[in-house]
């Protein structure tokens, strides 16, 4: 950290910008409450993941170049999405002439929660949030960025989001039957494999309902958008919030 108050560039994924501005606002306010100097670089667009995952990574060169240039001048880039963060870190095409900047970006971009726990080194947050909260572990956050331990691996259990939430007064953590099964969003998978995508989402929701989740949260709005879309269609009594919204509310 170069100063006491780190200079942070906010990267708000395209679908959050367009559909969930409140998540962007919560991320910004939360980081400010935690003492960061936050800027939202204008002109930012998308990381290109939808194209790349659909098999057109070669067509994302322009998008990636624009991204690297937009975020080049900041100490940190923080994003309220594990999936987009992982894409920037691991799936950007190599951009000729910007190799150094690209490598620097891969090391300075963080998903919001890991930025709080690993860079700001915040062990626990004081606040209250008196609700039963069910956590949806996004696959790219967990298996890609290792934000929590995977049920597949023989490793000591940990969960960075849980560490922050658990300390909030009144918050009850919901234990699920399948702690880290995919929700079935999967980007274009949601439409190309619609039937499977819906079934996977329904199964995740059933697990939360069975364990009396009141508010379903997670670090990736894409998973939440999918789950919320199914829950709303079937008129299920579940509320959905991004982790940033919970933490920002709890700290106010």
């Amino acid at each position: 950290m170069k100063t006491n108050s780190p200079s942070v560039a906010l990267f708000i994924p395209c679908y959050v910008d367009q559909f969930y501005p409140q998540v962007g606002i919560a991320t910004l306010e939360l980081l400010e409450k935690l003492g960061c100097q936050v800027t939202y670089p204008s002109g930012q667009t998308c990381c290109g993941q939808p194209l790349a995952n659909a098999g057109y990574a070669r067509d994302t060169v322009g998008t990636a170049r624009h991204f690297i240039e937009t975020f080049n001048d900041y100490d940190y880039v923080v994003c309220p999405s594990g999936s987009c963060t992982l894409h920037v870190k691991e799936h950007f095409p190599t951009i000729a002439g910007l190799e150094k900047e690209q490598e620097a970006l891969e090391h300075k971009i963080y998903e919001l929660i890991e930025f709080i726990t690993d860079v700001l080194k915040i062990e626990k947050l004081e606040g209250k949030f008196p609700h039963r909260v069910g956590f949806h572990s996004s696959c790219h956050g967990q298996r890609g960025l290792h934000l929590s331990s995977g049920s597949e691996l023989n490793q000591p259990p940990y969960n960075k989001a849980r560490k922050l939430l658990e300390n909030l007064a009144g918050l009850e953590w919901v234990e699920l039957s399948r702690t880290d099964e995919c929700c079935g969003f999967g980007g274009t998978f949601a439409v190309t494999e619609e039937a499977l995508s819906i079934q996977m989402g329904k199964d995740r929701l059933a697990d939360h309902l069975e364990h009396k989740t009141e508010i379903l949260t997670g670090g990736d709005m894409s998973c939440i958008m999918h789950l919320q879309g199914i829950a709303t269609r079937s008129k299920q009594e579940l509320k959905f919030l991004h982790l940033a919204e919970i933490l920002n509310q709890a700290l106010s």
Binding site: C14, D17, Y56, C139, N154, G184, A190, M200, H226
Partner: protein
Amino acid sequence: MTHPENAAEFLKDSQKSKWHDETLWFVRDKRDKVSKGIPEWEQLRELASGIKDNVLANLANYLEEFERNTTKNGIIVHWAADSEEHNRLVLEILQQQNCTAVVKSKSILTEECHLNPYLEKHGVEVVDTDLGERIVQFLNQPPSHIVLPAIHLKKGEISELFHEKLHTEKGNEDPAYLTQAARVHLREKFFAAKVAITGVNFGIAETGEFVVCTNEGNADMGVHLAQVHIACMGIEKILPRRKDLGVFLRLLARSATGQPITNYNSHFRSPSTGKEIHIILVDNGRTAQLAREKFRNSLKCIRCGACMNTCPIYRRSGGFSYNSTVPGPIGSILSPGLDLKKHSSLPFASTLCGSCTDVCPVKINIHEQLYEWRQEVTKTQGEFAKGLSMKLANGIFKSPLAYKISGSLMRNAVKSLPNSLIYHPLNTWGKNRNLPDPPKESFQQWYRKNRS
């Protein structure tokens, strides 16, 4: 049919697909528990991966060493460049023995080569002796899972089948009763067969022996009673040293079914006096896969099936939805190498969740290879329209202004149009899901008003 069409069909029987999901999840859960009982589990995976990497980097040398030692041990070695040659070699050995009925234990390789229909066409009766394989063989189906071949069937269906084929009591669905009937039937076949065919789990270069693992003991029942044993082995099944088996046998059954080891792990080094063992070393696309740098390490696979049991797609779409000898995540990275056109939908039958990679005992980066295959598929098999819309999207995302315009267009479209009229992807999205309520302004707009 493509994978999405097959999957949608499988999901129509919601009770059965739920059972399929839960049963395979149970197997994965057993695997989790037993693997967590081994403190060095992750180290073993790392070792297994490292040993296989070394094998693939020195495959030609190891194959020659293996051939030299097997030959010294009195085993007859054959080489097959493709499935046709493999099948022809098997038939020739059977003809030399005047054998018209053969017993075969589980071998995914012989499924891959479509050996059964070939032999049947040439007048040889083939009896698959693994219980699950015998069941699907009676139905003229391929296995739907590489370890649990009949996992797509309920006991009622098997009871009916056995009533017809083995004259068991009508309506008796007791698995113990049905298994006993199969035992009687199969033992008759074992005691009559002159030649037995098996697959190979591991071939050891250093000793020239090979290892076959089963729980039922069917491979051994076949080969020890027969005069001739034909072992069909993919060239990637080599391990350098005997002691490497310690690593792999600790991983294999635990990963596959959650048991600490298969009950029978037979090491074949030389034939009994007066008998013959043949090994057929098969390429059939393996050297081509070895040449593909990004996909090379898929050849590390030891066919445990753990990636199928963990895959949220496989569990809910069934093995047949992949229309590929090896289904599931590993099949989706192996099969495109054999026929990209036929299997072009398989790399997309995944959310790239990565669970397959984390259960894989030899640490194949399966989900990353699915991603890489997608890039290959769109190069040669991409539908024109899909390519165009993606290019358009890239045009939007690299230009801030275009992005803003299209974003507000999209939000307004969502606001003003009924779901059925929204353009295609959103339309499919909305079949069973609502769209988020469109906000009055984007984050960018809010930021400009409030912070700059």
